[in-house]
Each structure stands twice: as C-alpha cells, then as structure tokens.
Symmetry: C2
Subunit: 224 residues, 2 copies
DNA sequence: TCTTTTATTTAGGTATACCTAAATATTTCC
DNA sequence: GGAAATATTTAGGTATACCTAAATAAAAGA
C-alpha cells in the first residue's frame, strides 16, 4: 500500500491547477478549505484527494496546515494552464468564439489535448504569449513571462495604467468588462476612489465610468 | 432502485458508439462479445454496463441474445459520430494534422465538445458531408447521406469503382493506404483476384499494386 | 489561560466502471 | 438427442472520487 500510482485523471489535473491558482509560483501552502471552495468540493473529499496526490509526490502535505506543489506537481499544473490558455486563444482567433464563452469550453478541452495537438495549436497561433484575457501563456518548457502587475483596486487616484489582464473565470464578470470596454492593453486612468471600498471612477477607452470594487480586484494593470 | 439515471459519461458514449458501429442503422442485435472485443473490455463488464444502459432506456437488452439501440441511444451515438468526424476533418483542414493521426485525437475530443463548439466547427468547415477518410458526417439533425457502397474485396475482377471510404480506426492501416495512394474519390480498377482470400491486383492513382484481403475489406467503394 | 469558533481529518457510505473466477445458458456437432 | 464447445451472466472484488456526520486539532477571543 501507499504506492506511487500514476495519476492522469481529470480530477488530478483540476486539483493541481486549483492549487497553482491559489499559490502561484510562491512556496506558500494552500489550505484544504481554500481548495475545497475553489473546486466546489467538500473539505473531507479534498483531504482524501490531497493524501493521494501526496503519495504520488505531486504535492507536499502538511496535515492541518495545507499543501504545496512539488516540482512535478507544479510542472503538471503549468502544463494544464498552458493548454487552457492556448485553447482559449485558439477558440477566439480561429473559431471566433466570444470572450465570455471561451473559458467554459477550455475548462473541458484542456484535459483532452495531446502533446501533439497542443503544439499544433501553438504553431497555428504563432507561439503566442498572452491569452484573450491578457493572461500569460507558459511556453512549452513551462516558463512564464514575469510581469509587474497590480490590482486596479490598489492604484492611487489620478494615476495612469495599462490594463494587463482581466480575470476570466466568470462569464458574467467578463460581460461586465466587455460592456465597459475594459480589455487588455487599453489605457486606464483612475480619476477618483470612493472611500471604504466604494466604486472607482475611471476613464478607459475614452469613456468615464464607475467600476465596483469587487470588479476592480479582478483587473490587473501595469502602472505607468 | 432500477431508476432511470442520466448517463453522460465517456464510457456511455463509447458503448453507444461501439454498438452503433456494429449494427449501423439496422435493427440487428449486437452481441456482448462483439461489444467487448470492439471496446477492449471484458465480457462480464460489458454485461453489467448493458444492464445500466437498458435501465436508462438507451438500449434494449435481450439477455443471452444481445442489445440494440433505442431511438434515444441511436441519436446519442450518431451525435458522437458526428462530433468524431467533424473533429477529424477540422484537425486535418485547419491544423494540418496527418491522415493517420486524427482518429486518435478525435477519439478523445469527441467527448469534450459542447453543442456550441460543435456548431462553430461545423460552420468553419462549411457544413461538410464527409470526413477525411470518406465517412459521411451526420448533419445536425442526425441524418446521414445514404450511399450504395461495397467492400473492395467484394468487387469482381475487371471492374471499375471509386474509393468511397477507408476505415480509419487503425493508424498502421492508414499508413498502408497512404503509401499505396488509396484515398477517397480515387478511381480504382480491380485487375485480378487471387483465389482463396489472396491479394487483389488493382490499379489506383495510375499505379498497379497488390492489396491484401484484410486491407481490401477495410476499403469501401462505389461500383461504376 | 481557557473557552469558543473554525478548520481539518477520520469514519463510514455511495456511484461508476472496471476485473477474474465460477456458474449457467445457448449453440454446435456427432 | 446429448455431449462438447462457446457465449453470457452472476458473484465477489478493486480503484477512483465523491458525499455527510462525527471527532479532533488549531486559532481566536474573552
């Protein structure tokens, strides 16, 4: 027992991706509850799965504390992330799918790509570096372009910035951004910040508008 | 118990597709062993699964005799077949994937397409009617173009025909056809048939060559 | 510090889909 | 018709990945 099984399941990939999303390239631990919430799975189920992932040396499990990805686990997570973002961009560019539909499709397709198909799509796209939401696409070796980004909500009033990325998980939020013409590479100026977590008054794409705090936390910018 | 559960699994889709491949549009029964062999699963496992599919009203199960698809089961099978063939053609046309690679990819991707993506691909391809192996692609309603085809092995010597379809499951066999330039829509003439299941001497694409009987059974033609 | 709250894990159970070995039904052949 | 061969099903078991309820550990607050 406690043998090191090879885990190729969709579940395994979803856990690794979820943990990576929580901890990024840091060596922080992701907590059981955070993982449970992000995957929509009960905490006891998560505990059980984390033990299996630890046996397969994909995560390091520190009981009652959390897990962090091993090198192998991180590499698998980055691979899925690459596939997810390549697929999003491909669906958008080749098949003209909407900005707010592609995430949902990619969530399934990322688990169905072979190595071969991944690289064909990468070639078709010309080895792209960013997906349609502005998220960096890891290269075939797993390297990610380092960026210096802040949440829009953290920018001071009267500051200029460039939209780097909008978080693309939620179709409703993406429609919100679309309506307000908030897209990667657009210049954005924070005009005013209401106190105590209120809206931000900004100018973007020539229009002055208000953005809720929750939305502003989902927009990454490069400050100028 | 014995409730009518909704079955959306990859396994379910593979069984329905497999049964359809065995029986086509006829009302014949597929036997347990034939299904087991075609899916590479043990016969007892197949029996168990057929009972579940019968409970979900996707097949009609006649114990010790076999199963046949219900209308619902056939419709699901044809949908998967449509997706499989659309994906094959798309990979070939858009991503320039080889004739003998696309089946393997489609085998996975067919289970990962949404309705929306299926129809985007269909549009991109211009509502195609045949896949790269010459197999007819069912339309969105599930209708399949009727054809009048024979196996090449059934054609009399000194007869002319047009290659309609090469069976595309096996990459090795497809390479064999590729080498011999046997593609859909090519004219093929059977020059001689060796007795007792020997090779066929044919002319195709201007070249005279021999085709093994097993291969000739995997080539469908329209007799002229 | 000690109690309460929160987070995590253990215990026990479910569904899906597969397996082998053994039993039983069906078909084939003499 | 009956024995042998073949096909199918039953019985019992495994692995994956999920669940709820209960127990326990850790963190927070008085």
């Amino acid at each position: 027992m406690t043998k090191k099984v090879i885990r190729n399941s969709v579940s395994t990939e979803d856990y690794l991706k979820g943990i990576y999303r929580l901890t990024g390239e840091t060596d922080e631990f992701a907590t059981t509850n955070a993982i449970a919430e992000s995957l929509g799975i009960s905490a006891p189920s998560v505990t059980g799965m984390l033990k299996k992932l630890a046996q397969s040396r994909l995560v390091q499990h520190s009981p009652y504390h959390g897990v962090r990805l091993t090198a192998a686990g991180r590499s698998r997570a980055v691979k899925i992330l690459r596939r997810h973002r390549l697929v999003e961009l491909f669906l958008h560019k080749c098949l003209r799918m909407n900005w707010d539909e592609i995430h949902q499709e990619a969530e399934v397709l990322e688990h169905a790509l072979s190595e071969r198909l991944e690289s064909r799509i990468d070639e078709w796209l010309g080895h792209p570096r960013f997906d349609p939401h502005g998220a960096p696409i890891p290269d075939a070796a797993g390297n990610i372009i380092p960026r210096n980004v802040l949440k829009l909500s953290e920018i001071e009033a009267r500051c200029d910035a460039i939209v780097a990325q909008v978080m693309g998980q939620d179709a409703e939020l993406l429609s919100y951004f679309k309506e307000r013409r908030i897209f990667p590479n657009r210049r954005i100026t924070v005009l005013e910040k209401e106190k105590f977590g209120g809206s931000l008054k900004v100018r973007v794409s020539g229009k002055i508008q208000f953005i809720g705090l929750r939305a502003a936390q989902q927009i990454l910018v490069e400050q100028l």
